[in-house]
């Protein structure tokens, strides 16, 4: 083969490859345009445990059952990387049409944060109607609603009632009783609480649970005051008491041995094996635990108040459903959002997530111990959903770990939280 002939062959090949590439690209873009009138759409959400049905999946399946012509493509993303994945896709313009967001501003995928960045589509009035009272600022920006509230969660502790009963244990109603119970349970070789001490999200959740009675019971608007610098964490006696109580709990043996290095796996194993009686997890986890141990009963418990304090809790929508501003299937996604906001949609999610069934009699449910608090409305939404960035909650979570290991003092942790607030 001559040099000249070889060059011609190469040139012909290059032209053919370029033409084929152009055709393929044109084909891809054409397929996207065709979807504009489709009744189908894509849905992204975080998954934590493959053994448990994700509530968003339950929503999608129920909706497709009611609407056989609708095809929802599910994109499950591991919980650890969900925020990073979603924000990357939103920036790139290739996020799913609808997706899970977190109410408020505390996370990288928070509803208000994404809405202010112009990445979310405003939703219909149906979404506005289901926002829990007092939580409007976690879903609305300048009068528009950007997330359908889902799953009213009570943040306290989840008690393995079956193990507690067999151990002859009754959940205490005051703080002194809790500390003495810790010592009694520890003497029997168990622990009252299991804590993922190496995981800031879990240590932070415990601190928030305790802060309900120490901070927010007396001053439900504490977050608003902090936002305008009328108070600080370091100057708050309530927050100081919260962290000092955690130090006292550690000294009293409330947690399992080796708590400082424990991960989330310890919560599941200790709760199901009966070596610990309760865990600081959202109320929805009771449903997850029940799915793994059908012969055991789990109850939602509030953290007892300090002497002279009143019973108080933290409850609010822990999840939201939002629609991408750049969605090519907005109409289909909006119809889905409308259905999710109906009583049927809310019930499907509540059942799958083990959320608080609003407006129902709680006496025969796992929420019975906190029914009084819920009925009286003695609760505030999740505090960190109103904190300005994720670093504040991280400072709280890692700070509590520092309290458990003795690396930090209460004052240092509170100062770190103020610094993270900015």
């Amino acid at each position: 083969m001559s040099q000249h002939h070889r060059s011609r062959v190469v040139r012909t090949g290059l032209v053919a490859a370029a033409a084929a590439g152009a055709l393929i690209l044109a084909g891809c873009s054409g397929a996207g345009d065709d979807n504009a009138a489709s009744t189908g759409f894509t849905l992204s959400y975080a998954v934590t445990n493959s053994a448990v049905v994700a509530p968003y999946k339950a929503l999608a399946e129920a909706y497709m059952k009611e609407n056989p012509d609708v095809k929802i493509t599910l994109n499950e993303v591991p919980n650890d990387s969900y925020g990073q994945t979603l924000t990357t896709q939103l920036n790139a313009g290739n996020a799913s049409d609808a997706f899970q967001t977190a109410p408020g501003v505390g996370q990288t995928y928070s509803t208000v944060t994404l809405a202010k960045a112009g990445l979310l589509e405003p939703l219909a009035d149906s979404a506005t109607k289901v926002i829990p009272s007092g939580s409007e600022s976690q879903f609305e920006v300048e009068g528009d609603t950007f997330g359908v509230a889902l799953g009213l969660t009570f943040v306290g502790s989840v008690l393995n009632a079956t193990t507690a009963k067999s151990a002859g244990f009754t959940y205490p109603t005051d703080w002194d009783g809790l500390i003495s119970s810790c010592k009694d349970v520890a003497a029997k070789g168990k622990s009252l609480f299991v804590l993922a001490g190496s995981m800031p999200p879990n240590t932070g959740l415990m601190a928030m649970s305790i802060s309900a009675t120490r901070v927010y019971a007396d001053d439900p608007t504490w977050n608003e005051e902090r936002a305008v610098d009328k108070t600080t964490f370091a100057s708050s006696q309530g927050w100081k008491n919260t962290l000092e109580d955690i130090v006292d709990m550690n000294k009293a043996g409330c947690f399992q041995k080796g708590v400082q290095g424990a991960g989330f796996d310890s919560i599941t194993s200790n709760m199901l094996q009966g070596s610990s009686l309760a865990a600081f997890v959202p109320s929805g986890s009771a449903s997850d635990l029940k799915q793994n141990a059908k012969d055991q009963e789990f109850q939602i418990q509030a953290i007892p108040p300090a002497a002279g304090g009143k019973a108080f809790g933290i409850a609010g929508a822990d999840y939201a459903l939002s629609i991408s501003k750049k969605s090519k299937n907005k109409a289909a996604a909006q119809k889905f959002a409308d259905w999710v906001a109906t009583a049927d949609g809310q019930k499907v999610f509540a059942d799958a997530a083990g959320s608080l069934p609003v407006g129902q009699d709680l006496s025969d449910t796992p929420f019975a111990p906190v029914a009084d608090i819920v009925d009286k409305g003695d609760f505030v939404p999740l505090p960190n959903a109103s904190w300005p960035n994720a670093a504040v909650y991280d400072a709280l979570g890692s700070g509590v770990q520092g309290l458990l290991t003795g690396q930090k003092t209460v004052d240092q942790v509170l100062a770190d939280m103020d610094k993270a607030w900015g």
């Binding site: 990288t108 112009g118 190496s198 960035n389 690396q407």
Partner: protein, 319 residues
């Protein structure tokens, strides 16, 4: 007749015209089949490398001078991110941990790796099997290895079980959550996994050292240590340069093992610049700040790599 002047290969690879020109020895020659190709054929690859690697890196570096949160708009804030880094004790601690892990791991892996290479270089009959055993950790996934070690260091793991069985209850502790021991536990895992790599590099270096030189030194009365220090070590200087440079670069960017073992805890005791980059940029949404940390880490790696090369470079007369 003149064609018989060329070898069989030359007949095939040198163009006829070139042969003719060679005979005439006057006109400029054209490249033959051996120099097949043109520099611009590499253009697509060069453009891709520049576009995907260097431009993307430069753009990422530019975010170090912004307050971008990962979404929405951003503002140029000059050196504020770098000022914030050096004013934050936790970031200084992360920098200290980064340097500690890099220097300690490169020292330990190279000393142990060189010792293993010397021991398994000759004589021992089972050296081939032992080489495989010592090199095995290198090929395993750092994440998988770290999770196994996490179990070993766990409060309910085998180390504490052995200590309990020996009656040493006071030594029992959550190793990875102990502020004094956590960083050492991470170091143990890194050294365990990286030593085999250093060993292989030194074995390659030792293979090039002629036994006759060592024998000559021995005949001249040199002891074991003298033979190693004055004969073997100078001969494997290039291997030392490669092993230490790669070791220091890998040590400075340690990430997987820390994320799997301690996630930077307890309370930041094992944070490094690499884990902070990930945490700030992706977990906490401080992309600009994370980019500044990444730029700082890249600069430190560059400085250490240059110093390392200078220290271990062969002298001109040895080249």
């Amino acid at each position: 007749m003149s064609a018989t002047m060329y070898s069989e290969t030359e007949v095939v690879i040198v163009p006829k015209r070139r042969r003719r020109e060679q005979r005439q020895g006057t006109r400029p020659r054209r490249a033959g089949v051996l120099s097949f190709g043109h520099w611009w054929w590499a253009l697509p690859g060069i453009v891709l490398v520049i576009g995907i690697h260097y431009v993307a890196t430069a753009v990422g570096g530019a975010y170090a001078f912004t307050d971008w949160t990962g979404i929405g708009a951003f503002h140029w804030i000059g050196l504020d991110n770098f000022v914030a880094i050096f004013q934050d004790p936790t970031k200084i601690g992360a920098l200290g941990n980064t340097l500690f892990l890099a220097i300690a791991s490169v020292l330990l892996t190279n000393v142990i790796g060189l010792g293993l290479a010397l021991g398994l270089n000759r004589l021992i009959k089972t050296r081939y099997a032992l080489r495989v055993l010592f090199f095995m950790p290198v090929v395993l996934s750092p994440l998988a290895v770290s999770y196994i070690w996490k179990f070993i260091f766990d409060f309910n793991g085998p180390i504490n079980a052995i200590l309990n069985s020996l009656g040493l209850q006071s030594w029992v502790r959550p190793w990875l959550a102990d502020p004094s021991f956590a960083i050492w536990a991470v170091l143990v895992v890194i050294v365990w996994q990286q030593t085999g790599f250093a060993m292989v590099i030194y074995m390659a270096g030792l293979a090039a050292v002629p036994p006759e030189i060592e024998e000559a030194a021995a005949i001249d009365g040199a002891g074991l240590w003298q033979r190693f220090w004055h004969v073997v070590l100078p001969a494997i200087r290039p291997a030392v340069a490669i092993a230490t440079t790669l070791g220091i670069v890998n040590g400075l960017r340690i990430f997987d093992q820390i994320m799997a073992l301690t996630n930077g805890g307890p309370a930041g005791a094992t944070e490094t610049l690499a884990t902070q980059v990930y945490k700030q940029a992706f977990s906490l949404g401080n992309f600009g700040y994370g980019a500044a940390l990444a730029l700082l880490l890249a600069l430190i790696i560059l400085i250490f790599a240059v110093i390392q090369q200078r220290l271990t470079a062969s002298r001109p007369e040895e080249a």
